[in-house]
Subunit: 208 residues, 2 copies
């Protein structure tokens, strides 16, 4: 039996998603993006997510007033921009320009843009804001989804797991790698297990 | 500029944590555990998490009535148990026994146990339940934290990033691997960057 060390209560749930959340006050305003790790899926039907934001952040008012934001999932190519957009403020500078990022239109959004070239983006419409303490919880419905074309095989199957998506583990950014199994693998028949696992091989995307 | 494919709105935020949530109706009742990927950190001060659970799940009432649960983070050694406890129900069997898992006491909890031998556990006290649709959102304050001793260096520094924690990416379980950088690395001085990155080398734990 392993031994454990007790620590003071803190935010240690890991890994959590490290995503770039993009927003804009109005359709013709300058787009902004901030990095959020306090994000998650909260409901399947309807599909809903939550993001938690400090009220003093520049993007807080942009999202509260527009009622919209886009969650952009990041890969290693965007890891440095992800960190930068979590440190600096859109009050002081154009963070997208500073990181060489480009806004692109996102279906279903009136104001919030997506960030170009990232693996996947979710258009989200705020349904409720709930102050919790240092952070306010934004609940939102996912109204649009876009995934980069290179993450699909020729047969139409999507392989988000090949993107090497970035997550956050108590102070550091890591990559989601490999496939330990698929939902249901622990009770799958051996032939189903083998067939499914082959489809997750990262080599396969090059030959499809 | 990359091309994108639009999909129907769905729960695609990835990676999200894949954790084993343990609970118990009363201190002398049989412990149960269910797998949750709809989990996240929602506030820093006080430290708060959310988990979303379908009302028809066996653990729903256990958590609603006891007002407590423990989030246990999983590594590759527990990946199969993680999947199994997301598929099967504690109504029908003793899932901990079926997976060879053992409950252990968790500080700060009256009823909910931790699961032994997992990398880290968070004792959580429910503050609010909010029905959203298929799932009910449980907001909870983190009141206790325990981390496995092998994840500390001799100097007391904790390295949760070495655990290879399991996450969930749209249907598959992956591992959080490597260190792309630490919070603030994009604006850190070169000597700070080098010193910090050395501390994340996975070799170091063997020599400390």
């Amino acid at each position: 039996m392993n031994e454990y060390r007790s620590l003071n209560p803190c935010c240690m749930l890991s890994p959590v998603p490290a995503v770039l959340v993009s927003c804009r006050a109005a359709p013709d305003a300058r787009p902004n993006a901030l990095t959020i790790a306090w994000a998650g899926t909260v409901c399947s039907h309807p599909p809903m997510v939550s993001v938690s934001i400090r009220p003093e952040r520049y993007s807080y008012d942009l999202i509260a007033q527009s009622g919209e934001f886009v969650i952009n999932m990041a890969d290693a190519a965007h890891a440095k921009a992800l960190d930068y957009c979590g440190i600096r403020s859109g009050r002081d500078e154009d963070k997208l320009a500073a990181c060489g990022l480009t806004a692109r239109p996102m279906p279903g959004m009136r104001t919030a843009p997506a960030i170009a070239d990232m693996p996947a983006s979710l258009g989200c419409r705020v349904t409720e804001m709930k102050p919790l303490g240092s952070h306010t919880l934004f609940l939102a419905e996912v109204v649009s989804v876009q995934v980069r074309e290179d993450l699909f095989d020729a047969d139409g199957s999507m392989h988000l797991e090949r993107a090497g998506l970035i997550c956050y583990s108590h102070g550091v950014y890591q990559r989601a790698e490999g496939v330990e199994g698929f939902f249901g693998w622990s009770v799958a028949r051996p032939e189903v297990y083998r067939r499914r696992m082959v489809s997750y091989s990262s080599d396969r995307s090059d030959h499809s």
